[in-house]
């Protein structure tokens, strides 16, 4: 069962745990604590004024709204992507599969300038889209493109293994009971995939909310329209308004924590329902 309370057979526990805790405290907890401590120099009312200013509220709308939309797009296309990768064979599949992780590996700044070069009015795609009245770069749509890019692997990579582990028996049973493919997908497969899909969605969302590098190049950064919250933090900082920047950072951190706990819960759920099937 356990390694025993009084004496552990495997060595190194105090050293490993001690090192882990010290390192965690130094790199993560103390610096994060500094943010909260700094924001505490504001009174509750001042804090509220800063974080509920119209421009700040608008930036939440952009950051959270577009991130939510991007995560939703990723959930749909990521599911299709994972499905195609697991279920079908086609030429070049290995390469496609390997490149799914590109957004993990490609620096965000590089992604930002590349996407801008593609979608700007005189860009590769932009020159075709603009005449159609579809402006991408420097609009909230551009932010959506960037956030979709960085979030894609999260959904694919959480759904893919679940899909791979699925026993064909499940679908065979459904088919033998007279269900067509769509019914089988809807009623049998989707419920099994749902926890993983939601986990991927939440991960993509969490990543998108905090994203900075790829967005600032392609977003128009117009207050109230296409200004994301991280940029607002930088803006505050550059006006020497440390406390204001910190207050907004606290709001984002709280959202991050909530998301993190949500994701952990989802993952537990996903693992448990995977164990059941």
């Amino acid at each position: 069962m356990s390694a025993g309370q009084s004496r552990r057979v495997l060595p190194g526990f105090p050293l490993a745990l001690g090192y882990t805790l010290v390192y965690l405290a130094l790199i993560v907890l103390i610096p994060l604590g500094a943010v909260f401590l700094k924001s505490a120099t504001l009174s509750w009312e001042q804090f509220w004024t800063v974080i509920s200013a119209p421009r700040v509220l608008a930036s939440y709308r952009v950051s959270f709204g577009v991130s939510l939309l991007a995560a939703a797009i990723n959930a749909v296309f990521g599911l299709i992507f994972a499905w195609v990768l697991v279920r079908y064979s086609f030429p070049g599949k290995r390469i496609v599969d390997a490149l799914v992780d590109l957004p993990f590996a490609l620096p965000t700044a590089v992604a930002g300038i590349a996407l801008t070069a593609i979608y700007a009015g005189n860009g590769w795609l932009g020159q075709w889209l603009e005449p159609l009245g579809l402006k991408v770069a420097f609009t909230p749509l551009g932010i959506l493109v960037a956030l979709t890019f960085i979030g894609l692997p999260f959904v694919v990579r959480t759904v893919q293994p679940v899909l791979e582990d699925l026993d064909t028996e499940l679908e065979e049973a459904a088919a033998s009971l007279g269900a067509d493919r769509w019914q089988t997908f809807q009623r049998v497969l989707l419920p099994v995939l749902l926890p993983a899909l939601l986990t991927g969605f939440a991960l993509a969302f969490a990543r998108a909310v905090g994203e900075y590098g790829s967005v600032i190049f392609i977003a128009g950064n117009v207050p109230m329209v296409s200004e994301i919250t991280p940029l607002l933090i930088i803006t505050k900082l550059e006006q020497y308004d440390y406390v204001g920047a910190t207050a907004i950072a606290v709001v984002m951190l709280v959202v991050s924590f909530v998301l993190l706990f949500l994701i952990n819960g989802l993952q537990l759920w996903a693992n448990r329902s995977r164990a059941r099937t």
Partner: protein, 341 residues
């Protein structure tokens, strides 16, 4: 080497895994620790090995208190349920591991290690697989390698945790006979844990029956099978018929009739449980018989031609053991033969 555990108590949270266990394991014997899952047998084995420490009580190895000795110092060989072979090492390197990690002063030369490993692989009849990796072996082969690896360091005791638990039935039977033979050659003090009664009875010199962290009975396989010391042992070892009734004038009265029980320690009117092995039940086909339990033949399997469907019979135990309902060992027991009724 002899092993003695004394007054061992072990709790995991509020769960009592071992409740004051005292046991002796004699030198050179193969002892089976038998019991249902959760009875504490594996915990006891791990405490003897030093992989777990007891909350209270002592472990004596060869009469010396080893309770505070580290696993490494106890010189035990441990065979894990899932083999725990090092998957990145070849069979050969797995067996050689224990020799190669010895402190420099005690480490044998590589050539000695080589011949020793060869010897062991011969012993477990797997010399041909020395270059393979564990994942390329079948379950039975893995288990034999695990055993060879444990033997390589010349342990004073061999401890096996459900050694055949993960194998399929056929391999399991082969392997346990092989283990018995191996033990007859090596004569190393061994303890093995199992939840399979057949396995325990077949392989062990002695069987220890455990339940809920307590020792129910210790004895030779024959002894524990024929003279179960408690209702638990009775029902755990082999098939048994259970009759719940009341004692009245040398009979156990149950709803379907009465069973003669002869002299016993029960007060008239006391409740009692009667245990009868299937082979100890005689079938009385005489419709005039009044003793025994009234029964009707539901379905005749193709075993004997003497009965027909729907025939009414009486069942008469040749031997019955009685226990008080809540008793562990307290119930008295009587032996009787068919003629005594």
């Amino acid at each position: 080497m002899s092993i003695r555990v004394q007054n061992i108590i072990k709790q995991f949270g509020s769960f009592v895994a071992l409740d004051d266990v005292t046991l002796d394991f004699p030198t050179g014997k193969l002892v089976g620790l038998l019991g249902p899952s959760g009875c504490g047998k594996t915990t006891l084995l791990r405490i003897i090995a030093g992989l777990e420490s007891a909350d209270r009580g002592q472990v004596f190895l060869d009469g010396a208190d080893a309770s505070n000795a580290h696993v490494r110092e106890r010189q035990v060989g441990f065979v894990f349920q899932h083999y725990a072979l090092f998957r990145h090492m070849t069979v050969f390197d797995n067996v050689a591991f224990g020799l190669r990690v010895k402190p420099r002063g005690q480490r044998p030369a590589e050539s000695v290690i080589h011949s020793r490993v060869r010897e062991l692989l011969d012993l477990v009849q797997l010399s041909a697989l020395a270059r393979r990796y564990p994942t390329q072996l079948s379950g039975g082969q893995r288990q034999r390698i695990a055993l060879a690896r444990a033997l390589a360091v010349e342990p004073r005791v061999l401890l096996l945790d459900e050694p055949f638990g993960a194998l399929d039935a056929k391999v399991r039977k082969e392997l346990r006979r092989w283990l018995r033979k191996l033990h007859d050659v090596l004569h190393i003090t061994s303890i093995f844990v199992t939840h399979d009664q057949e396995e325990a009875l077949e392989v062990s010199d002695r069987v220890v029956l455990m339940n809920h962290g307590r020792v129910e009975q210790v004895g030779a396989p024959q002894e524990v099978y024929e003279q179960p010391a408690s209702p638990f042992v009775y029902s755990f070892l082999g098939a048994v018929n259970l009759f719940h009734g009341r004692i009245q004038d040398h009979h156990l009265h149950v709803s379907e009739g009465r069973l003669p029980v002869g002299h016993n320690g029960f007060q008239p009117g006391a409740e009692a449980l009667g245990f009868v092995r299937p082979h100890e039940l005689d079938i009385e086909t005489d419709p005039a018989a009044t003793a025994g339990i009234a029964a009707r033949v539901e379905r005749v399997l193709a075993f004997g031609p003497t009965l027909t469907n729907g025939q009414r019979v009486r069942l008469k135990p040749a031997r019955i053991r009685l226990f008080a309902p809540e008793s562990q060992p307290a119930g008295s027991l009587i032996g009787m033969d068919g003629d005594g009724i």
